[in-house]
Amino acid sequence: MKLDPNTEIDRLLLHHARHGGAATPFVSVAADERGNSGGGSEEMQAEHLDVDEMSAYAENALPDAARARYISHLADCDSCRKMVTELVMSSGAANALVEKKAVLTPTVPARSWRERFAWLLAPQTLRYAASVLVLAGIASIAFIVLRGGRDAKFSSQEEQTQNSSYDQNSNRPPEQGVQSGSSTTIAPALTPQGSPAKPDATGTPLDAQKDNQAQPEQANAPKTMTEQGPAESSPAPVVTGDALGGNNERARDEDAVSLARQQPAPPAPSVSTVKNEADGKDLSGRASGNENNMVLDSSTSSTTAEVAENKPQSSAKERAAGARAKTARREAAPASQAAGSEAKDDGGEREDKAKKAEATRRVGGREFVRRGGVWVDTAYKSQATTNVKRGSEQYRALSADEPGLRSIADQLGGTSIIIWKGRAYKIY
């Protein structure tokens, strides 16, 4: 099996370290006043790091030139390197390191374009790139699916609206129909005074009465409607973008269906009645125009009898639609407020949960609660604490003795009271 180049070198280096490059395991016993580790050539012995240099190196407290000099020695002296390594580990320097940009020594040559290209095609690089691409693909698919679902929902709502208006128009007899698909035709008839129309000889108000009776039952109505007059009508798209809008749509559709069922062929009303109703519609339209965005163009109203036959019905429906819309707006406002307060309640509950989650933590198999800015071990029973300040010698000694305790304190951060081996420690 062919190994990749990096693995080959890794294996060879490992083998070389075990067999070919091992330094002398034992060194001379003598140790002078300077505490030299001894061993090796005379020159190396003279250059051995003393304890002051080792401790300064371990704490990264050296000027660059001196540090470079010691690194050169440590690379070749096993004993000094071992001592320094132990000092570095005991000082906990590894935990304090943050990732910084590597400062390469000046002797490192710049990479050629071929090397960079080879690096790009290296298996490790491709592996990382492949995983990033996969994650990006999954995220984009999820986004598209979610968005598609939302769009489908809106489009289905619009389709229902349009279907209802289409049904409405298709049920009207052709000779009556100047109307085109108008979703506003579901509005029940109203006189200018808003009261149900009285029956007249035409019988039309009977339908209006029925519509008026249906009106109070309507809890929802479109918030916005556009209407361009009895002769022409346009669909009133309802885009509320919330559940109420959907409910309004369904309610209006139901009205359309019920109204379609209730529609007999209305007899032609008298001209005076038509005129009154047209005026009423006009007035009602004006009265509710600002709220419902209804635009009634009385100039477009037809005075022909044929149109007049259709007008009462459509105008009544339009008025009813406008009134319903007004009612729906009034009802929608408190409903939206309720929804908002509901959302606020949910947010408040979530906040409470988050606060509770923040107030307790589980670290190192122990549970801690937050009290007054201090993480307190639940096993703490108000006994006396040993106060240890971070960075102090006491803390260092404690960290060396009890690395588990230090790990817990580091994870908690800030001030914490930890019960460790039967004693209470306050780390601050």
Binding site: P5, L12, L14, G21, D52, A61, L74, A75, D401
Partner: protein, 317 residues
């Protein structure tokens, strides 16, 4: 005295005065009491590598010395009993902890800790009548706690050496090293000898030996910091995180450096083999691949529990 030296002397005096001012407890020390110590540190860590160091560098160096720790140590050296008491009180736990980490049992740790204080105080007496202890070697560059831990570690190593049964002289060590080097190309690639074709096996073995030699040479050509990383990771068996800590870099940085080093070492090996042995690139690639593959087998066998320990040190049969 040259102009530069006089200027540095002035900087030294000013820096020492600032150090005393910085200390929370200067212990009644004066500038002249500390100048010798700060001057020695300045020379040891800065002027030795950069005799013409800029004043800013000199001032920055002096201002980064641990003032309180240095004043404490100098006061101890001058026989200040209060300072000694403070030293034992503040750093007793540190010394005990360090002793415990280098000792096998509590008694040994206690003995070691006591030895430390004796070493610090010094059993010998200097010409001026003051004890000659290790305190004189604290420069204030690192913290006193870290210095004490280093002293404890050093003393533990010295004690271990004194009590060790087997002691090897320098000459014997050289012979051993030579013997290992001569067998390094043969003993480890024993798997190659198991093939049916002895000539091919011999050729493979020699090629592997050449690769090994070229590898050692390539390692010697690395920059010091890179060589140190290789030593820490491969020879000392440290994890990348630990090796990075010794180098003063984050684990991720160490990992990136190691990856770069693999490429660099490989190039070095190729260059040496092409130049010294006249190999072609394909021959080098094949030889390295075969050597690494055989090592894979050898390592698995060697790391298994059933492989006798004695056979690992013997040349291949």
């Amino acid at each position: 005295m040259s102009q530069i030296t006089a200027h540095t002397e002035n900087l030294l005096a000013d820096g020492t005065a600032r150090l005393i001012a910085r200390a929370a407890d200067a212990r009644s020390l004066k500038v002249e009491d500390l100048t010798a110590r700060t001057g020695a540190a300045l020379h040891k860590y800065l002027l030795r590598d950069d005799p013409a160091a800029k004043p800013e560098a000199v001032n920055a160096f002096l201002d980064s010395l641990h003032a309180d720790d240095l004043c404490l140590i100098v006061a101890c050296e001058r026989g200040d009993q209060t300072a000694w008491s403070d030293l034992v009180e503040r750093f007793g736990a540190t010394v005990k902890s360090a002793a415990r980490s280098t000792s096998s049992n509590e008694d040994a740790a206690e003995d070691l800790a006591q030895s430390i204080w004796a070493e610090l105080h010094g059993l010998r007496v200097r010409a001026d009548g003051r004890p000659a202890g290790k305190l004189a070697y604290y420069s204030g560059r690192g913290s006193l706690g870290g210095w004490l831990r280093a002293v404890v570690g050093q003393l533990a190593v010295d004690q271990h050496r004194k009590s060790a049964r087997l002691v090897q002289t320098e000459e014997d060590a050289d012979f051993d090293r030579l013997a290992r080097a001569s067998h390094s190309g043969e003993e480890s690639f024993s798997a190659a000898q198991s093939t049916s074709n002895p000539e091919a096996a011999l050729a493979e073995q020699r090629a592997a030996g050449d690769v090994e030699t070229a590898l050692a040479e390539a390692l010697g050509e690395l920059a010091a910091e890179d060589r140190l990383l290789v030593k820490l990771y491969y020879f000392d068996g440290l994890r990348l995180r630990e090796a990075g800590a010794v180098l003063g870099v984050h684990e991720a940085t160490a990992s990136r450096r190691l990856t770069r080093l693999h490429v660099e070492i490989r190039k070095g090996v190729e260059a040496i083999l092409m130049k010294r042995r006249g190999w072609t690139r394909s021959e080098i690639g094949r030889a390295m691949s075969e050597a690494a593959s055989h090592l894979d087998t050898d390592l698995e066998v060697m790391l298994s529990d059933t492989f006798p320990k004695e056979q690992r040190a013997q040349p291949g049969d």
